[in-house]
C-alpha cells in the first residue's frame, strides 16, 4: 500500500480519514506503530494482572490440603483462563508491543509496512480477548485446560458453551496474530535502512523476524484444529468424536502441539532478543558471536517444528516415534546452549553495570537455564512418564515462561521505557521490584520441582493431607504473594515515573542501535532522515569510530535499492499515513461474527448464525472501505 500513489481526486473512500491528533478517537483510529505498541503493552499488562489474580486464587486454594476457597468447577476455570491468558494475552501481546514500538526504530523505518493492517491486528487481538472474557459474564468459563484435549471438549462431555468461548476467542486471536506476523515479516524484509543487511540487524529484530515466521507457519495449524473442534460442537462432525464412529482424540493432540511447541518458542524468542540487546549495552561490549546467535535463533525456529510429540510421550506413540521425538527434542538444547554461552561470554571482560534492565536480563539467563535443564529431563521419555502432568512440568514451564519471558519482558520495559516516554523508571524501585520478583519467583516455582518429584499432579483443585505436599505448597503460595507485591511495586514505579520521572535524553543508556539516535519519545515520523548503516551496532560505531571497519560486519555498506531511489530523486511525496477508521471497523466485524457463533452455541438451532453473517458482512464492508480509502499509507 505504501508504494502506490493514488492519482489525486480519482478515488475517494467511503469515509474521510480521521485527522484528530489527540483524544480517544486518535487512539481508536491510530495507525502509528508507536501508539499501537503502547496499546498492546497496556492491554497485555491489564491481562497480566487478571491472569496473576487467577494464579493467586489458585495458590490460595492450594496453600493447604483440602482447600475450600473455590470449588472444582471454579478451579478448573481458573487454571484454564490463567494459562490461556498468560500465553495469548500477556506474553504474546507484550512481545508484540516491542515488535511494534522498537523494530521499526531499530531498522531505521518510519513505520511498519502496513500501518492499517497493524492497527487491525491490535483490534482483532482485543476482540478475541474480549470474546473469551465474555464467558465470565455468561458464567460459563472455559474449564478444560489451556490445551483443551479432545474428547473432553466434545459436546457429550462439555455440554455448556464454556469450550466455545475458548474456541471462538482463540480463533479470533489467531487472526490478529497472523496479521501481525505477516506485517512484521514484510517490514523486516522490506523496510530496512540503507546498509542494514540481514547480518547487521539487531538481534531483537532477528528474533522478531523468526518469531513472525513461526507465527505465520504455526497459527494456521491451530486454526484448523479449532475449526474442526468448532464443527464437532456446532455441526456434529466427527473429528474427535469417540462414540464409535472412528473419531480420534489423539489427532487433536498432534494438531495442537504442532502449533503448541512452536508457540512456546514464539513466547521465548522475543525475550531472547531483548536480552541480546540489554546485555551488550550494559557490558559496553558488542554481542559475542553475533552470527552464531543468528544461526541459533534460526535453528531453534526450525527445530521447533520437529519436536511436538514430546508433549505426548505418555499417549502410546510406540517406541520408534517416541525415540525420534526424544532425540529431536534433545537436539534443541544445542542451539539454546549456544545462546546462553554467548551471553555469558558477552559479560566476560565487559564493563558491567547492574541497572534494573540488566538485572532482569541476568535473571532471564540464570532462570531460563534452570527451566531448560528440566526441559531436557522431560525430553527423556521414560523419565517424562514420571514427570508428565505433575508439578515438575509446571515448574519447568514457569521457569522458562516467567523466569524466561516475563523477566526479559520486564527488562525490556525498563530498558525502552525512557525511549517510549522520555522518562526513566525509578532505579531503586526497579531494583526492589526485581529482587522481590526474583525471590518470589524462586519461592513459588522452585518448590514445585519437589512437589512434582513427590508425585503431585497438576490441575487438581484439592489434595488430601498425608502425601507430603503440605510444606512446599504453602511455600509456593507465599512466593506467589511476594510476586504480587513486586508487581505492585512496579505499578508504583510507573505512576511515579509518569508524574515526575527523571527526564531521559535520546540515548540514556549509552546504546548501540538506531532507536537511540532519535529523541525520546520519538517524533511521529521517527527519523528525520533515514540513516545509512555502515555496520552492526551503528550507533556504537558512530560513538567509537576507531572500531569502524575492524569488527565483523563493519565493512562499508553496499549500495542498496533505497539509495538508488533517493539518487534518482524518488518520485513520491512523503507523508506519514493518516489515521483510519477501517481497521477498527473491520475488527468489529470479527467481534460480531464471533459473538454470533457463541450465540449459536448457546442456543438450539442455527438461527443465531445470522449474527455471524452480519459480522462477516461488516468485515467485508470494512475491507472494501479499507481498500478504497485514499491511499497514503
Amino acid at each position: 500500500m505504501a508504494t502506490i500513489a493514488a492519482p489525486a481526486g480519482q478515488r475517494s473512500g467511503l469515509l474521510a480519514r480521521p485527522i484528530a491528533p489527540t483524544g480517544v478517537w486518535s487512539w481508536l483510529t491510530t495507525v502509528d506503530h508507536k501508539r499501537i505498541g503502547i496499546l498492546y503493552g497496556t492491554t497485555a499488562f491489564v491481562f497480566l494482572l487478571i491472569g496473576g489474580l487467577e494464579a493467586l486464587l489458585m495458590r490460595t486454594q492450594l496453600a493447604v490440603p483440602n482447600g475450600r476457597l473455590v470449588g472444582p468447577e471454579e478451579f478448573n476455570s481458573l487454571f484454564t483462563m490463567h494459562g490461556t491468558t498468560m500465553i495469548f494475552l500477556v506474553v504474546m501481546p507484550l512481545s508484540a508491543a516491542f515488535f511494534n514500538y522498537i523494530v521499526p526504530l531499530q531498522i531505521g523505518a518510519r513505520d511498519v509496512a502496513f500501518p492499517r493492517l497493524n492497527a487491525f491486528s491490535y483490534w482483532v487481538f482485543l476482540s478475541g480477548a474480549l470474546l473469551m472474557h465474555f464467558s465470565f459474564i455468561a458464567q460459563s468459563v472455559p474449564n478444560m485446560g489451556w490445551f483443551a484435549y479432545a474428547n473432553l471438549t466434545e459436546k457429550t462431555f462439555s455440554p455448556t458453551p464454556a469450550v466455545d468461548y475458548w474456541v471462538v476467542g482463540l480463533q479470533v486471536l489467531g487472526v490478529g496474530s497472523l496479521a501481525a506476523g505477516f506485517n512484521f515479516l514484510v517490514t523486516i524484509l522490506q523496510l530496512r535502512a540503507p546498509g542494514m543487511s540481514l547480518m547487521r540487524m539487531p538481534l531483537f529484530t532477528w528474533t522478531t523476524f523468526v518469531t513472525s515466521i513461526l507465527i505465520v507457519l504455526a497459527f494456521p495449524v491451530i486454526t484448523v484444529a479449532l475449526i474442526e473442534l468448532m464443527f464437532d460442537r456446532l455441526f456434529g462432525t466427527l473429528f474427535f468424536n469417540t462414540s464409535g464412529l472412528n473419531g480420534d482424540p489423539i489427532v487433536w493432540q498432534h494438531l495442537f502441539w504442532v502449533f503448541g511447541h512452536p508457540e512456546v518458542y514464539i513466547l521465548i524468542l522475543p525475550a531472547m532478543g531483548i536480552v541480546s540487546e540489554i546485555i551488550p549495552v550494559f557490558s559496553r561490549k558488542p554481542l559475542f558471536g553475533y552470527p552464531f546467535m543468528v544461526y541459533a535463533v534460526a535453528s531453534i525456529g526450525f527445530l521447533s517444528f520437529t519436536v511436538w510429540a514430546h508433549h505426548m510421550f505418555t499417549t502410546g506413540l510406540g517406541p520408534i516415534a517416541t525415540a525420534f521425538f526424544a532425540a529431536s527434542t534433545m537436539l534443541i538444547a544445542v542451539p539454546t546452549g549456544i545462546k546462553i554461552f554467548n551471553w555469558a561470554s558477552t559479560l566476560w571482560g565487559g564493563s558491567i553495570s547492574l541497572t534494573t534492565p540488566m538485572l532482569c536480563a541476568l535473571g532471564f539467563v540464570t532462570m531460563f537455564t534452570i527451566g531448560g535443564i528440566t526441559g531436557v529431563m522431560h525430553a527423556s521419555p521414560p523419565v517424562d512418564t514420571q514427570h508428565q502432568d505433575t508439578y515438575f512440568v509446571v515448574a519447568h514451564f514457569h521457569y522458562v515462561l516467567f523466569g524466561g519471558s516475563i523477566f526479559a519482558l520486564f527488562g525490556g520495559i525498563y530498558y525502552w521505557w525512557p525511549k517510549i516516554t522520555g522518562r526513566f523508571l525509578g532505579e531503586s524501585l526497579g531494583k526492589l521490584q526485581f529482587w522481590l520478583m526474583f525471590i518470589g519467583f524462586n519461592l513459588t516455582f522452585g518448590p514445585m520441582h519437589f512437589l512434582g518429584v513427590d508425585g503431585m499432579p497438576r490441575r487438581i483443585y484439592t489434595y488430601p493431607d498425608g502425601l507430603g505436599w503440605n510444606l512446599w505448597n504453602i511455600v509456593a503460595t507465599i512466593g506467589a504473594y511476594t510476586i504480587g507485591v513486586a508487581i505492585i511495586v512496579f505499578i508504583t514505579n510507573v505512576i511515579r515515573s509518569m508524574r515526575n520521572g527523571e527526564i531521559a535524553g535520546a540515548d540514556p543508556w549509552d546504546g548501540m542501535t538506531l532507536e537511540w539516535t532519535i529523541p525520546s519519545p520519538p517524533p511521529h515520523y521517527n527519523f528525520e532522515t533515514i540513516p545509512t548503516v555502515h555496520g552492526r551496532d551503528p550507533l556504537w560505531l558512530q560513538k567509537h569510530p576507531q572500531l569502524d571497519g575492524h569488527g565483523p560486519g563493519g565493512q562499508a555498506a553496499p549500495a542498496t535499492a533505497m539509495q538508488h531511489a533517493e539518487q534518482e530523486g524518488g518520485h513520491e511525496h512523503p507523508h506519514m499515513p493518516d489515521p483510519s477508521y477501517w481497521p477498527l471497523f473491520a475488527a468489529l466485524g470479527l467481534l460480531v461474527a464471533g459473538a454470533g457463533i457463541l450465540m449459536t452455541a448457546s442456543s438450539t438451532g442455527y438461527t443465531m448464525l445470522v449474527v455471524t453473517g452480519v459480522g462477516l458482512f461488516i468485515l467485508l464492508v470494512g475491507i472494501f472501505g479499507w481498500s478504497l480509502e485514499p491511499v497514503n499509507g
Partner: protein, 358 residues
C-alpha cells in the same frame, strides 16, 4: 551507574552462591522418602530403570547448572563497571569457542540419549524372561477406575491388587475421556485413551508388600483431582486368597439392617442403586458405577477419597454431590447431578448392607 563500594559485589556473590547450593541440594535432599507418591524411590523393575535414567540425566545436568550459573555470577562480580567512561576490549567472538560449546553439549546429550532410547524399547513389552505374567485390564471412567483380571475372572474397582514379584501387564482403556494411569512408586504413567488400548507392565519388587496410592494424571473433567486409586501389593499367598474371595458371588445379607438395605438397594423408588451398580449374585446389573460385589473389602470408597466405614458409606450415599461435586453418582438434573434422595433410615440400612459385602 554509580561507583560501587566493594561490599556489594561480595554480598551479591554470596547471595547467588547460596541460592545455587540451596537449589541444588534441594533437588537431591528434599526429595521426600516418606511421600507415598514419590517418583524417585521406585519399587519395581520398570520404576528402577526410570530412576537410573533420571539419576544419569540429573548427574549430567549438575555440571551444566553449576558451570553456567557459576560463570555468570563470577563474570558479573568480576567485571563490574569501575569507571563511567571505561571501554572494555571490544571482542566480537571466537569461532573455536563456538565449536566447543556446540560439540560438548552434543556429547552430553548423546550420553543421555543412548540409555534413553534403550529404556524406551525396554519398556515396550515385558521382558521375555518374565514368567507367568498377570494380565490386568484397566478401564478409566469419569472419576473412578475399573479393574479386570481376565485370566482370574475377577472384577473390582479403585483398589488394585498385585502379587509381589510377579510381572503384571496392563491393557489400558477408557470408557469416556482420556485419563492417565499412574502409581508413582511402580513407575511411569500411561494414558488411557478412548478408541485405543495402551499397554504397560512392571514387576512389583518381591519385598514391596504394602499399599501404594496413585491417581489419574490427565485432566479429565470436574473431578479429575479425586480420581485416585490404591495399589495393594500382596504376598503371593495373600493374593491367592484375595482372588478366591473376589471370584465368589456376593454374600447374602444376614442381619436385619442388611436385609432391609438390600431391599432398598433393589428398589427403584428408594435407593435406585441397582440401576448403576452390579452386585454379582443379585438382580443388580448396572454398569455405570463400580462393581459393588465386594465393596466392603476395599480400604477406600469413591475412588480413594473416603475411608471405607459404615458412617462414610452412608454419608456417600446421601451426599455424594457434596463430597465429590459433579460425580456421576446422583440424580441427573440438567447437565449435572444432585444428591440421591435416600431417607436417613434407608441410607443407614443400605450402608450396612453394602458394607457387609466383604
Amino acid at each position: 551507574m554509580t561507583a560501587q563500594n566493594s561490599l556489594r559485589p561480595r554480598l551479591l556473590i554470596l547471595c547467588w552462591l547460596l541460592l545455587l547450593t540451596a537449589s541444588l541440594s534441594g533437588c537431591t535432599a528434599f526429595a521426600d522418602r516418606t511421600a507415598p507418591q514419590s517418583t524417585v524411590f521406585p519399587l519395581s523393575d520398570w520404576g528402577r530403570s526410570i530412576q537410573d535414567l533420571y539419576s544419569l540425566v540429573f548427574l549430567m545436568s549438575i555440571p551444566v547448572f553449576i558451570g553456567v550459573e557459576g560463570f555468570i555470577v563470577y563474570a558479573v562480580v568480576r567485571f563490574r563497571r569501575r569507571a563511567s567512561d571505561e571501554l572494555p576490549n571490544q571482542v566480537h567472538g571466537n569461532t573455536r569457542l563456538e565449536v566447543a560449546w556446540t560439540v560438548i553439549p552434543s556429547i552430553v546429550l548423546l550420553i543421555i540419549a543412548i540409555p534413553t532410547i534403550s529404556a524406551i524399547f525396554y519398556s515396550d513389552a515385558p521382558p521375555a524372561s518374565a514368567q507367568n505374567v498377570l494380565k490386568v485390564t484397566v478401564i478409566g471412567h469419569q472419576w473412578w477406575w475399573e479393574f479386570h483380571y481376565p485370566d482370574l475372572g475377577v472384577s473390582t474397582a479403585n483398589e488394585l491388587h498385585l502379587p509381589a514379584g510377579r510381572t503384571a501387564s496392563f491393557e489400558l482403556k477408557s470408557a469416556d475421556v482420556i485419563h492417565s494411569f499412574w502409581v508413582p512408586r511402580m513407575g511411569g504413567k500411561v494414558d488411557v485413551v478412548p478408541t485405543r488400548a495402551n499397554h504397560m507392565w512392571f514387576t512389583p519388587d518381591a519385598n514391596a508388600v504394602g499399599v501404594y496410592p496413585g491417581q489419574c494424571v490427565e485432566f479429565c473433567g470436574i473431578q479429575h483431582a479425586n480420581m485416585r486409586l490404591d495399589l495393594v501389593v500382596d504376598t503371593p499367598s495373600d493374593f491367592e486368597a484375595w482372588t478366591q474371595r473376589q471370584k465368589a458371588n456376593a454374600v447374602q445379607p444376614t442381619g436385619g439392617a442388611e436385609q432391609q438395605g438390600a431391599a432398598a438397594f433393589m428398589d427403584a423408588t428408594r435407593g435406585l442403586c441397582f440401576s448403576c451398580h452390579a452386585i454379582r449374585g443379585t438382580e443388580a446389573k448396572g454398569t455405570i458405577g463400580p462393581d459393588l460385589t465386594h465393596v466392603g473389602s476395599r480400604r477406600m470408597i469413591a475412588a480413594g477419597i473416603l475411608e471405607n466405614t459404615p458412617a462414610n458409606m452412608q454419608k456417600w450415599i446421601q451426599h455424594s454431590q457434596d463430597i465429590k461435586p459433579g460425580s456421576k453418582m446422583g440424580r441427573p438434573v440438567g447437565n449435572g447431578f444432585q444428591n440421591l434422595a435416600v431417607t436417613d433410615a434407608d441410607a443407614a440400612a443400605i450402608a450396612a448392607y453394602v458394607f457387609s459385602l466383604k
